[in-house]
Symmetry: C3
Subunit: 301 residues, 3 copies
């Protein structure tokens, strides 16, 4: 049984030491409505290629963990009912039942690391939920990033979470966190979370990953890129909307895996779609930056 199926293009890119950017698929199945989801997924592929890197979208298709899915697979993830949002703990079950699933940040990091990919672009990463410790809901993304050796480029931690405490937990776990050309940690929908962070350029990020190649540190590196100005949302307005959405989730007793999709949908409605526009803008931007860092890494290796 072969659980990891790497596409021919990705396999060749690995052998030839070409830059590759891993991409997650939960944004396709659960993050955006059709046909936005498909269009964005394909557009991101183009963006990565325009920067001289190879896109490697990761998903589970009929019980095969595929690194590098094609347009047909993307169409399925974008339209089919019952695609399983697959966190790392769900992976053995989804593979065993030969189901089709999209991969979270954790599962994408795992699969990309297994395949030898060093860079990964995503929208936002999971963390400590605001209810902690009443509910000890903490994303497996944190633990997986502390145990995989990849560079994760995102627009920060999902802003529905407890951002300061998630950053504390990254520190506890030894995960390096940098702001991309900024000393203010980005706030996902907003350019500034209000928290200081060390700034890094793309060349420095590439250089850092080369240094890590010579160390035996398990931790991934997290680089947070501010959402592009033109799509950024006003921080105060956004904060009030998030608090309203959290209130509503509590009233409707939404829990567990259902919370994040519920909150995103509610925020979408309350911002008249501005949150989705920001999400699309930032994921495209992150893919571009990740591809540039990957290119810098391989060009000077």
């Amino acid at each position: 049984m072969k659980t990891l199926q790497v596409s021919n293009e990705i396999r060749e890119a690995i052998i030839e030491q070409k830059p590759i950017v891993a991409l997650e698929s939960t944004i396709i199945s659960h993050g955006l409505p059709y046909p936005d989801n498909k269009e964005v997924a394909l557009r991101i592929h183009d963006i990565v290629r325009e920067e001289g890197a190879v896109p490697a979208t990761i998903a589970i298709i009929n019980g095969q963990l595929k690194v590098g899915i094609d347009e047909e697979d993307i169409e399925r993830l974008a339209t089919e009912e019952g695609i399983v949002k697959t966190s790392l703990r769900d992976l053995p079950g989804v593979l065993t039942k030969r189901r089709t699933g999209s991969t979270t940040v954790a599962t994408t990091s795992y699969a990309a690391s297994q395949a030898g990919i060093r860079f990964f672009a995503t929208g936002g990463i999971g963390g400590v939920h605001r209810e902690f410790p009443n509910s000890m809901d903490v994303s497996n993304d944190l633990i997986t990033l502390a145990n995989s050796n990849i560079c994760v480029v995102s627009a920060g931690i999902k802003s529905i979470l407890d951002v300061p405490n998630t950053l504390e937990m990254f520190e506890t776990l030894g995960v390096p966190v940098y702001g991309y050309e900024t000393t203010r940690y980005p706030g996902f929908y907003t350019t500034d979370s209000g928290i200081n962070v060390e700034s890094i350029t793309k060349e420095e990020a590439a250089s850092l990953m080369r240094t890590k190649d010579h160390l035996t540190l398990d931790q991934s590196v997290h680089i947070a890129v501010p959402v592009p100005e033109e799509a950024a949302i006003d921080p105060d307005w956004m904060q009030s909307i998030i608090l309203e959405a959290l209130e509503e989730a509590k009233k409707q007793q939404i829990t567990g895996k259902d919370i994040t999709p519920f909150l995103l949908k509610t925020i979408h409605e309350k911002t008249n779609g501005q949150s989705v526009k920001a999400n699309i803008a930032l994921i495209k931007n992150n893919a571009k930056i990740a591809a540039q860092i990957a290119s810098s890494y391989y060009n000077t290796n």
Copy 2:
């Protein structure tokens, strides 16, 4: 120095790829009174054999970590004073001082994994204590299950603990959790903790463990089997007794390692022995189910 001593029968079973079920020994030294503890330990061996599997009770005898102890060892653990309840952090010390100790879920998982055993039956597993975060008392069982590759069959998390938050922490750590032929997570003494869980059959569990053989995921799999109906205790009655016992522990200032034995003894008294009957019924049942899953795993490997 050879720290791990695997019995001849277990060694042959491993080589011949026969099903094996690991069993912990804290239930013998600290969980049940004499002669119940010895009788149950031997009865469980028979149950495992009746299902075509080999029982591997694990304990530390005179500073030797033994995988597969015999009746004489069981008699010692069941009767001797000063048997050390050995969690994983205690293991180096107990071995160094050539002491005799019983193994917790964590230490049994570690030793079984080291020996190449894939299935383990126990009563209940540790987790987050209800005082968290006032006291950050969280069992090492959680961390060890996140770092060993075994299938642990239990009747759920010990119900004196914070069950919802322990399940959250399993999710954070990436440990897959399933209900055995039930969509309601079992409540140890009761069949239903009130929390939803994905259901699994024994064939699916065997299949899942085969899938894991092809992945490089560290985490163990936890399968929770409801206590047999005829021994189950009424959930509301049980909950009130646990709260009384916790109250008494606080009053008497019982802390640390002494809490769990104190609570179990108090619950025993307050239920007029029903809790011990449930405990015996569920551990026998778990051993049977674990043996059946192990047999399914090896028959179709």
Copy 3:
């Protein structure tokens, strides 16, 4: 690129299986004022040698992670501005930028483990901050000690932290903790934190580390040595000073990496220098005990 540079003396000592004691360098750059810091660093070298062991102070000099620095390096760390206090997450960045940094308990444990060193003496180790869970500030020392195989000799957990909860977290992570010839866990500036702990002698500690050589447990062992009586501070007085210092840090809104240096400086002032005297006395004593344990380990190996 060679990231770890082991001095000739240390390399020979490793090959010849001579006792070695790793030492951290944050005490030089951030822990003590000049010229105390340099004098103490050199005095500790002598103390380790007097016990028949080789001192291995660890630091980052111009982007080289050096195991075994010389007097010239110590002078730089003791006097230069801008020495980076380098926790494990900072290590790749400090190496990449070819900076000069001192190593924390975590980074020293990592580098020493990489070099094959088994013993490490330091002042106090990090842990859970008192604000938890309002701020989830928990030192990476805890996680790194759960993932490196070394014997860390300290005077306990830094007393500005939440000592009981840090000890709980060590238990959760499976890190063995012992009191050196005492059944009361030391309180850093004071001989007794009020918490019970298992006692260990130097021969037992050496023996324990030999047992660990035959196990595949990741965790380090923590041995807490009481501050020498003549330098110990009264526990009640110390506790009130710590609470005042914490209050002041809150008032002045000191956060993150700045908290520990601020608190130490404030405590220094409020104790009229007694805290620094205690700190110097305990680090010298810890170095001596660590060297004795290391000697015992190699002599009877």
